[in-house]
Every structure is written in structure tokens, then in C-alpha cells.
């Protein structure tokens, strides 16, 4: 299957006329036709003819030229419905393009779909959506993770070459882990947020989701950089990440923060994540156990500041301009709006929002300190294996706890690479994350790439395992 190939292999194949962009587009649409009914990854599938037309006329100007991709439905795409998976924006057609989308179009990539997600990014399972839950391609009775569940499931099921997700508290990494793909939560400010529908403005990051670290590096090169339309985007220059992957890991120290491996972490997940340390150690890296005692406060900071910002960000959907009123917000979204409104209210502001910001400052110091003792931190992504559909939705607190390891980076702003690191006995994917200092994407991708040279977990797809439930091709 062409879609098992890496971006570099595909780019080379296109240039050597081994296959065409049209072949790639057709393969994507064939897989969508076969599998999307089972996993519900898409909110909008763009017409095949449109994509084929683009593929026929594509000029190969960049490694992404002629490659079909999908993006989370929180990105504005002019002329195409953009819903953020909420009926509040049902049928909303944006009049402008998100910067990330514009950059990919300029690079010659071909958009084929807008992806399902937790509405407004509110969730870690892609069940909080008005378009039906996304199902895990490895077991369709289970969730794909979230909030970027649609993009992750689509890459996993080989429906596109790469995807663009958005990570506010794990939204790229969590579904990457549960769907067995690689995803990068970038440093805050590395990629423009312009045109990405906001969940929590000071946490939101836009990043690549693909099969490998190398693929993520190539996509990141294209989408990163300062944007005059985003005052929080960083002017720091963009390295050519894909050329910086070959350094050996032998000079590096991998930090293992104890607090991330305590009770509550599924033993199988724990074993698989710690195996990454072992593999890197075998490749020459040093391992250092360390402590991040403030870890416990991460989730609290996240669930005070995130909802506070979202309560304000979602105020514009007041029923006057977007057709649908606030009664179309789901229970989960309403819950977050209420928590945030409460945390910002007079008399509570100091105790909640302000206190959370103060602890956030301490937390930033905690990460800085930890990252002086090591090159990168190795952490689990999810405390559990992918839950059954409905499990998390029936228990809001459990739903929040699913984010416990991934909400700790966004308040800091540091980047984190999520990648496949093994499978449970029952064949469900497990992911690990490497967290580095601000703007250390080059280092994270380098380690990820080196790790993926040593292992083959990332090459496994649910399609190659014909025995996996639910993905038998339609007759």
C-alpha cells in the first residue's frame, strides 16, 4: 500500500514516476470508503473529483506536493464547512483560511477531509462530538482518543498521508498513543494558531500527526514560523528538522520523573514506556531518575485555566451570528464553560484563576529544573489503555484524569513528541512521550527518529492486522 510509505519515499516515488499523486488520492478515498463507516473519523469528506483534479495539476515544488492530508475540523478552510465538531457551528462556512492550512496549500498538499474531534477540543476521547464518536481502528468498540481523534484514526487507518491536529492538553498525543501514530505537540508559539478555533488560547498548539517522527519533521518545517496574524507566534527561526535527525542518542540523558510512573498508571503501559528508556539506553543514552513533586498540580492548573479561557473564547457563539444558539453546546462543553466562569468570577478569581497562574509559574520552574538534569523527559501519555466507548463520558472526573500526563506540558509551553512504543497483550497500541525544553523540536524529532530506527511499532497498522475487530473491508 502506498500509504504505508513515508513522506520522503512518497515524494521520491512521485518524482520518479513510480506512481502519481492521483494514485495516492485514490488510495486514500478507497480506504475512506472501506473504513470510515466503521471509525467515523471524518466530519467532512471533500469530493474525490476535486482532490483528483488537484492531484492531476500538482507541481512538485515541496516534499508535501501532491500528498493528500486531513485536518482537524477546528481549522478554518474557506469555502469548506468548519464545525469544531459542534452543532453550534453546524453548516458554518469560514470566509478565510487558517495559516497552517494556507501554508500546506502553498506547499502543494491536497486537503481531502475535515476531521472529527471532541467539540471545541473539550475531551480526550473524541466522544464529545455532535457527529458521533470516533472509533479506534485497532478495536472499534474503543475510543480513538482525543480531542484530535479523527486525524489520528485516519492516519492509523491509512486514509491520508499526514494530518494536522491541535493540542491543548494532550489532544494530539493522546489519540496518537491510542491509534499507534506519531504526533508532535509543538512549543507554544512555534506554529501559528491563526484560524484555529480556540479552546484555551494560552495552551493551544498546532502540530503534525503522521506515521513517523521523520514525517512529522517534514510537515513541521512547512507549517512552523512566525505569523504576523498571531502575536504569540515566535520569531525564532525554523530549523530544517528533517536534516537534523541523524545524530546518535549517545550524548543524551533521558530523565524519568518518578511522579509520572506512580499508582494509577496501567502496568502494561508503564512497562512499555519504560522499555523506551531501555532501548535508548542500549543505544548509548544515559538514564536518570528524577522527581517532579509539583506534578500533582498539573491537572488542577490545566482544569482551572483551560476552562477559564474557554468560557471567554466561546462567548462569541451567542446565537446571534452563527445560526445556532448556546443550547447546542454539549454537557461537557457547558461544564467547562461553567467551571471557567466560576473560576473567573469576582470573589473566586484569587482562589482559582490567579492561584492557578501562580502555580503555573512554579510549574514552569519545575520543568526548567528537571530539564537541567537531563536532555529530555520520558513520560507516559495516557494512564490507561483505550477505554470502551461510553466509559469516559459517563464519568466526567475519570474523563479529566485521562489527561493527567498530557495536561502538564501545555501550561509550560514545552514541546512533546508522542510515538508508538508497544502493544498491550490484547493488541492495543501504547504510546510514550518525550518532553524537551522550549523550542527543542529538533532534539525530540531526532530522538524519535533514532528510536524508530531501532523499533518497528510505528510501522504496524490496523489494516495489516486483518484479525483486528471491525475493519474487515466492506464487500
Amino acid at each position: 500500500m502506498l500509504l504505508d510509505k513515508s513522506i520522503l519515499e512518497l515524494a521520491a516515488g512521485l518524482r520518479q514516476d513510480e506512481f502519481t499523486s492521483v494514485d495516492l488520492v485514490n488510495e486514500c478515498y478507497d480506504n475512506i470508503a472501506k473504513y470510515n463507516d466503521k471509525i467515523n473519523a471524518f466530519i467532512t469528506i471533500l469530493p474525490r473529483e476535486t482532490a483528483i483534479k488537484q492531484a492531476q495539476s500538482v507541481k512538485l515544488t515541496s516534499p508535501l506536493s501532491g500528498l493528500p492530508f486531513v485536518i482537524k475540523d477546528c481549522f478554518n478552510t474557506s469555502g469548506i464547512t468548519t464545525t469544531a465538531a459542534s452543532h453550534v457551528l453546524k453548516n458554518y462556512i469560514a470566509p478565510y483560511d487558517a495559516t497552517v492550512y494556507k501554508k500546506l496549500l502553498t506547499a502543494g498538499a491536497i486537503l481531502i477531509g475535515k476531521m472529527n474531534m471532541d467539540a471545541w477540543g473539550h475531551g480526550g476521547s473524541s466522544e464529545n462530538t455532535d457527529f458521533g464518536p470516533v472509533k479506534n481502528p485497532w478495536d472499534t468498540t474503543r475510543v480513538a482518543g482525543g480531542s484530535s481523534g479523527g486525524p489520528a484514526a485516519a492516519i492509523s487507518a491509512r486514509m491520508a498521508v499526514f494530518a494536522i491536529g491541535e493540542d491543548t492538553g494532550g489532544s494530539i498525543r493522546n489519540p496518537a498513543a491510542w491509534c499507534n501514530i506519531t504526533g508532535l505537540k509543538v512549543t507554544y508559539g512555534r506554529v501559528s494558531r491563526y484560524g484555529s478555533i480556540a479552546y484555551a488560547s494560552s495552551f493551544d498548539t498546532v502540530g503534525p500527526m503522521a506515521k513517523t517522527a521523520q514525517d512529522c519533521a517534514i510537515v513541521l518545517e512547512t507549517i512552523a514560523g512566525v505569523d504576523p496574524y498571531d502575536a504569540t507566534s515566535s520569531p525564532i527561526s525554523v530549523p530544517s528538522y528533517s536534516t537534523l535527525l541523524n545524530k546518535k542518542v549517545s550524548d543524551l540523558t533521558i530523565g524519568i520523573p518518578d511522579e509520572f510512573f506512580q499508582a494509577g498508571l496501567d502496568p502494561e503501559v508503564k512497562t512499555a514506556v519504560l522499555k523506551v528508556a531501555e532501548d535508548l539506553k542500549n543505544a548509548g543514552a544515559k538514564i536518570k531518575n528524577l522527581s517532579m513533586p509539583l506534578f500533582d498540580y498539573g491537572l488542577a492548573i490545566y482544569y482551572l485555566i483551560g476552562p477559564s479561557e474557554t468560557s471567554s473564547n466561546l462567548a462569541r457563539y451567542d446565537g446571534i451570528r452563527y445560526g445556532q444558539g448556546r443550547e447546542f453546546f454539549t454537557d461537557e462543553t457547558t461544564r467547562r464553560i461553567l467551571i471557567g466562569t466560576y473560576a473567573l468570577s469576582a470573589g473566586y478569581y484569587d482562589a482559582y484563576y490567579k492561584k492557578a497562574q501562580q502555580v503555573r509559574t512554579l510549574f514552569i520552574e519545575e520543568y526548567k529544573k528537571a530539564l537541567t538534569k537531563c536532555s529530555v523527559l520520558l513520560q507516559p501519555i495516557t494512564p490507561t489503555q483505550p477505554p470502551k466507548i461510553g466509559e469516559l463520558m459517563s464519568d466526567p472526573l475519570q474523563n479529566f484524569l485521562a489527561d493527567i500526563y498530557t495536561t502538564s506540558q501545555n501550561p509550560i509551553g514545552v514541546p512533546s513528541l508522542a510515538f508508538p512504543c508497544g502493544f498491550t497483550k490484547t493488541g492495543l497500541p501504547i504510546g510514550a512521550q518525550l518532553v524537551g525544553p522550549m523550542f527543542s523540536e529538533d532534539l525530540l524529532l531526532n530522538i524519535g527518529y533514532q528510536y524508530q530506527q531501532l523499533t518497528d511499532n510505528h510501522l504496524k497498522s490496523p489494516l495489516s492486522k486483518g484479525d483486528l475487530e471491525g475493519l474487515k473491508p466492506k464487500p
Binding site: 457551528l89 469560514a94 491563526y194 478555533i197 504569540t232 473567573l344
Partner: protein, 465 residues
């Protein structure tokens, strides 16, 4: 019973930057076709982000400096959350904890009125209520707005009006806003209560005041109303409570809008989409260097030239006018010359539109030197003609033969002829010396109007003795 009004003003000034506060849209909105100066940012569309206008930030600091404020080098924007149809994002980007400028003061006729803050924010869209429907125009949404908040130091409607005029003058001197109250580019919300002996009446904020006279009348109305109200019910101010009343300019009354509202909960928090704004000391000094001499300083200077309070205020009213005055004055410290120029500027030259480039100070100096040879009406006429033609007024006077003839020899000959031609008038004079006016008129006429009337009278009186 001693009644002291306590008045504070909240003044909004729309900056006349080319683009809006957080996007590149054209910031003009007066008489512009609705919703044509808009984009995803000022419409608050999903995913759009604000990027602050550097010029607007600098202008806010400039105004802060002009009002003697301390500048917060680390400033940031905040969100003020409330729902209103013309508020596109459901929040207004403004400043609360760290405004650009704080703790200033403004001299109003010798009293220092404290300025609490000068901060920057964005304007909202406009709602128009037409036949039971509300129409929304977002051209004004995101236009940069500076808010100046005074301490409640003003004690009369007149003083409040003067404060407002001073602010208006300063803003126009700085060339950062039209500050036109009628067009809405300057707005004012007075907060009024009274100190009656040792107690205070409830705070009232007055909205919808749309003219300088309105400010005066609304505050006066409120003082009278609160006095009467207190005499009736004796209710005093409760902490943290404020009543909002609207000003009805047609009926000249304030009317109740919202009663006894605790300070509304706007859930302010730092705007996460905009990083903190840092200005270095050097940058602030560079902004300070662009501030021209301000009206109050000019008034002091003009009064030192022995100009009247009234004239000094009039000349300092706007920067262009005072610049013209100072250009003509040059370095002169001669009070007579200053008065001479002032009379021409606020007299004949006020009737036409003048520009500083077309003003030639030398012409004024020439006229001033020859003023005893020209009648005052001729001077007024000459200065206008000189301005319009660009010609030296003395050349014009020469050409038109307007110099007063003071050559007594020539006049005497002429006078003898006039007396000889008017025996009846001479006879009349003998009986009634008041009738000399007729003979003066005749001699003036004979001289072609160029004779100095005083000299004419003297000659005639001498000859008639």
C-alpha cells in the same frame, strides 16, 4: 446644609490611527457603508486572533505622558467579558491591572485634577434600532479607544466642562484624535454624587452625554435632582453601588437605566492572545520627545506677554493657531506687538481659513512698524489682502494710496480751500464748535481718505481760531 458636588469623568477618545486596534482594517467608520471595514479579526470570527497596533500603543503612552502620568513599562491587555449583540467576541480587549499610564494630573484653572489612568482598548460595533429590528454595524468594532479616568476631584459642572475641553485640546495638540464629541470620537461619562454636610448621596453614572453643553446640563441636573432626592429620602451612598442614569438631551433630564447595581462582574483576566507589551525607558523618552508644548504652558507664556486671559486661551485653543501666532511673533517679547498680532488673528484673519505656510511674519512686522500711519480699518483690510495675494501690505498701501497724510503743509493748503468752499459750515462752527465734524469729513474727502483724522482736526481747529 453645605452641598459639595463630587464629580469624576470617564472620557473615551477614539484614536485616528489608519488601521484598527487589532487588525489591518481601515479604522474610519463615520458615514461609511455598514460592515465594509471588517475582517475575521474585528468580526470576532472563530479562530481569528488580535495583533496589537503599535502606533495606538505609542499614542496612548503619549497622551499619558502629556497628562503627567507614570508609564507602566510592562503593560498588558485584559479581557472584559460581557454579552452584547455589538460585541463581536463576547469580550472587549481592554486594560485593567496594568494600564499604559497611571497617576497623572491636569491643571484646570489653577486646580490640579488627578488622573487615575489612561488606558487603551477597542471600541465595539454599533447597534441601530430600526422599526423593531436591531441592525449591527461592525465598522467601529476594534477601533482603538483611549479611556481617561479622572479622580472625583471636579466640583462643579463648569469645571467638568473645562476639564473636558482641556482634554480635547491636548488630544488635538497631540494629533491623535479628532476628539469630536458630536461625531462620537470623544465621549464622556460623568459620575456624580454630593457631599451634604458629612454624608454622601448615592453614586450616579450618567450615560449618553453627546455634547459639551450636555455635560454641563446633565451634571447640573443631577446635582439638583440628588439634592432634592436627599431632602426627600435621606438615602446615602452604599459601598460598591452605582446607579446608571441616561441623559435625555431633548427633555434635559436624566432618567433611570440601572439601579443600585453592584460593580458588574466582567470576569477580567489577562488576554492570552497578546503577550505583555514592554516599552523601554528609551522608547518612552522617544515618545515624550514628540509631545509639543501643551496648551497650559502656552497660556502661561502668552500671559507673560501681557495678553489677557481670554486672548491667551483663545490663541492656545489649538496647536495650528498658536503655531501661527508664534511664527509671526518670532522671538519678540514686545507686548504691543503681541497684542497687535492677536487682534489681527482673532479679528480679520479669524473670518477666513489660514494656513501657517502662507503667513509671512515680516509683513506683520512691517505693518506694526507703520501702524501710526495707517488707520485701524485699513490695517485690517491690508492684512487680509496681503494674506490672500502674498504681497507686502506696505506695497499694497502704497499702491492704493492708503497712508495717512500727516504732511501738515499740504493739508493746510487743502484745509484753506475747504474752509473757503464752505462758508456756512464755518459760520456754524463759530456758533457751535461741535459741528466741526462736517468740516473734518470734507477735508478727509478732499485728501482722498489718506489724511490722519487727528491731524486734520488739529489743523482745522488752528485755522478756525
Amino acid at each position: 446644609m453645605t452641598i459639595t458636588p463630587i464629580i469624576g469623568l470617564e472620557v473615551h477618545v477614539e484614536l485616528k490611527t489608519k488601521s484598527k486596534m487589532f487588525c489591518g482594517c481601515n479604522a474610519s467608520h463615520f458615514h461609511v457603508e455598514p460592515n465594509t471595514h471588517t475582517c475575521p479579526v474585528c468580526l470576532g470570527l472563530p479562530g481569528a486572533l488580535p495583533v496589537p497596533n503599535q502606533v495606538a500603543c505609542e499614542w496612548c503612552i503619549k497622551l499619558g505622558l502629556a497628562l503627567g502620568c507614570t508609564i507602566n513599562q510592562d503593560s498588558f491587555f485584559e479581557r472584559k467579558n460581557y454579552f452584547y449583540p455589538d460585541l463581536a467576541k463576547g469580550y472587549q480587549i481592554t486594560q485593567l491591572q496594568k494600564p499604559f499610564a497611571v497617576n497623572g494630573k491636569l491643571d484646570v484653572d489653577g486646580r490640579l485634577i488627578r488622573i487615575n489612568r489612561v488606558h487603551l482598548e477597542e471600541d465595539t460595533g454599533k447597534s441601530q434600532h430600526v422599526g423593531g429590528e436591531t441592525l449591527l454595524d461592525f465598522n467601529r468594532s476594534g477601533v482603538p479607544l483611549v479611556e481617561i479616568v479622572s479622580e472625583p476631584d471636579l466640583s462643579s459642572p463648569e469645571e467638568a466642562k473645562k476639564f473636558l475641553i482641556k482634554i480635547q485640546q491636548i488630544v488635538r495638540y497631540l494629533d491623535i484624535s479628532d476628539a469630536d464629541i458630536e461625531k462620537g470620537s470623544m465621549r464622556c461619562e460623568p459620575t456624580v454624587n454630593l457631599k451634604i454636610d458629612n454624608v454622601f448621596t448615592p453614586l450616579v453614572e450618567i450615560k449618553n452625554v453627546a455634547s459639551l453643553t450636555g455635560v454641563l446640563n446633565a451634571i447640573q441636573f443631577e446635582i439638583d435632582r440628588q439634592t432634592k432626592q436627599f431632602q426627600e429620602d435621606g438615602i446615602t451612598k452604599a459601598t460598591g453601588e452605582k446607579t446608571t442614569r441616561g441623559w435625555d438631551a431633548d427633555k434635559s433630564v436624566t432618567f433611570l437605566q440601572r439601579e443600585k447595581e453592584g460593580s458588574a462582574d466582567y470576569r477580567y483576566f489577562p488576554e492570552p492572545d497578546i503577550p505583555p507589551i514592554v516599552f523601554t525607558k528609551d522608547q518612552i523618552e522617544a515618545i515624550r520627545a514628540t509631545i509639543p508644548e501643551l496648551p497650559n504652558a502656552k497660556i502661561v507664556k502668552y500671559k507673560a506677554l501681557s495678553l489677557s486671559d481670554y486672548d491667551a486661551n483663545l490663541l492656545a485653543e489649538n496647536l495650528a493657531f498658536s503655531a501661527i501666532f508664534e511664527k509671526i511673533l518670532g522671538g519678540s517679547t514686545n507686548p504691543d506687538f503681541a497684542k497687535f498680532i492677536t487682534n489681527l488673528l482673532i479679528g480679520p484673519l479669524k473670518t477666513i481659513e489660514i494656513t501657517i505656510d502662507k503667513i509671512n511674519p515680516l509683513y506683520f512686522q512691517n505693518l506694526f512698524d507703520k501702524k501710526s500711519d495707517l488707520s485701524s480699518s485699513v490695517i485690517k483690510q491690508l492684512i487680509l489682502e496681503s494674506y490672500q495675494t502674498g504681497t507686502d501690505p506696505l506695497v499694497l498701501a502704497q499702491k492704493q494710496n492708503l497712508f495717512q497724510v500727516s504732511d501738515t503743509g499740504a493739508l493746510q493748503d487743502l484745509a484753506k480751500k475747504v474752509l473757503a468752499a464752505n462758508p456756512q459750515a464755518v459760520a456754524d462752527y463759530k456758533k457751535n464748535p461741535q459741528s466741526i465734524g462736517f468740516l473734518i469729513g470734507q477735508l478727509m474727502k478732499a485728501s482722498g481718505g489718506s489724511a490722519n483724522p487727528q491731524v486734520v482736526r488739529e489743523i482745522l481747529e488752528k485755522l478756525l481760531k
